[in-house]
């Protein structure tokens, strides 16, 4: 019988070293949500896995965009109470902005 505490400790060690692989890119990914409220992306940084979807929901009264030109991320105008969903297919760190409001920034990390 394998002592369970040791197994757990090993798993924790692998996980802390980043050796636990992310969820596979195939199949239905997990859905994540980023709220746009108070002229901010909440959370400002979100980490997802390839195949996951991220939905930005605009709870502000004014329209916004989710834009990262280099990464080809462009939501177009998201009006009040509207949403936009993006499927993360390529690993990497994508800093994005609202094209309309220069102070609004977020980061999407795809693992």
């Amino acid at each position: 019988m394998i002592p369970r505490p040791r197994t757990l400790a090993l798993l924790a060690l692998f996980a802390s070293a980043g050796l636990v692989p992310p969820a596979p890119a195939s199949g239905a990914g997990t859905g994540h949500e980023v709220r746009i409220e108070g002229m901010k992306f909440v959370p400002a940084r979100i980490e997802v896995h390839r195949g996951d979807t991220v939905t930005w929901v605009n709870q502000d009264l004014v329209p916004h965009t989710v834009t990262a030109q280099k990464a080809g991320l462009e939501s177009g105008q998201i009006d009040h109470d509207k949403r936009w969903t993006y499927k993360a297919s390529k690993a990497g760190e994508i800093p994005y902005v609202c094209r309309f409001h220069p102070g609004m920034r977020g980061i999407l990390v795809v693992k």
């Binding site: 009264l61 329209p63 309309f100 220069p102 609004m104």
Partner: protein, 185 residues
């Protein structure tokens, strides 16, 4: 009119001081006058948004500066969106926006500013428009904090005012960025 057209520090100070006086008087009036009713608050909100939409339209037509044009378009888009929400809410609440001394004063000050801006062109116009946007958003924020939000009785109206506040803060910061950028040229 020469002093208004001048791009000298004195001319700029005079312009800014004139606008600040007009808006300060409004803000002070809004605080000192009897607490505005919800209908009057709705009237002030609609007037404040419309003023900046009109200023944005004028700037978009007149300015050749891309940054100023983009900012002006943003003001048109955002303030139109806020006015649409405000319009939907007052319909739902069956409140008819009412004029008050504050809303009338806002409109009168805006007309004076628009008249001054009409006499300017090029870099002078861009600077005066951007300076005015900084002062305007600062004063509207003051009015929101000191007169409108505290006096709104209906929870949904108060909620709308609170929700719109961060957009006005972002506009103020954006306007300051435009002013700083123009100063470098």
């Amino acid at each position: 009119m020469k002093s208004l057209r001048s791009n000298s520090p004195r001319g700029n100070i005079l312009r800014a001081a004139g606008l600040a006086c007009a808006l300060f008087a409004l803000s002070a009036h809004a605080q000192q006058a009897a607490a505005p009713s919800d209908a009057q608050i709705a009237g002030i909100v609609v007037a404040a948004n419309q003023i900046d939409i009109d200023a944005g339209k004028a700037a978009k037509a007149k300015s050749k500066n891309k940054e100023v044009q983009a900012f002006a378009q943003q003001m048109i888009t955002d303030h139109s969106a806020v006015n649409k929400q405000a319009g939907d809410l007052v319909k739902k609440l069956k409140v008819k926006p009412e004029d008050s001394d504050t809303s009338k004063g806002l409109k009168s000050a805006a007309k004076q500013t628009a008249d001054k801006l009409k006499g300017l062109s090029g870099a002078e116009y861009d600077k005066a428009y951007a300076d005015n946007e900084v002062a305007y958003h600062q004063q509207v924020l003051d009015a929101l904090d000191k007169a409108l939000i505290p006096n709104a009785k209906n929870a949904e109206l108060k909620g709308l005012l609170e929700k719109v506040r961060p957009a006005f803060v972002a506009h103020l910061e954006h306007a300051k960025m435009v002013v700083a950028s123009l100063a470098k040229k």
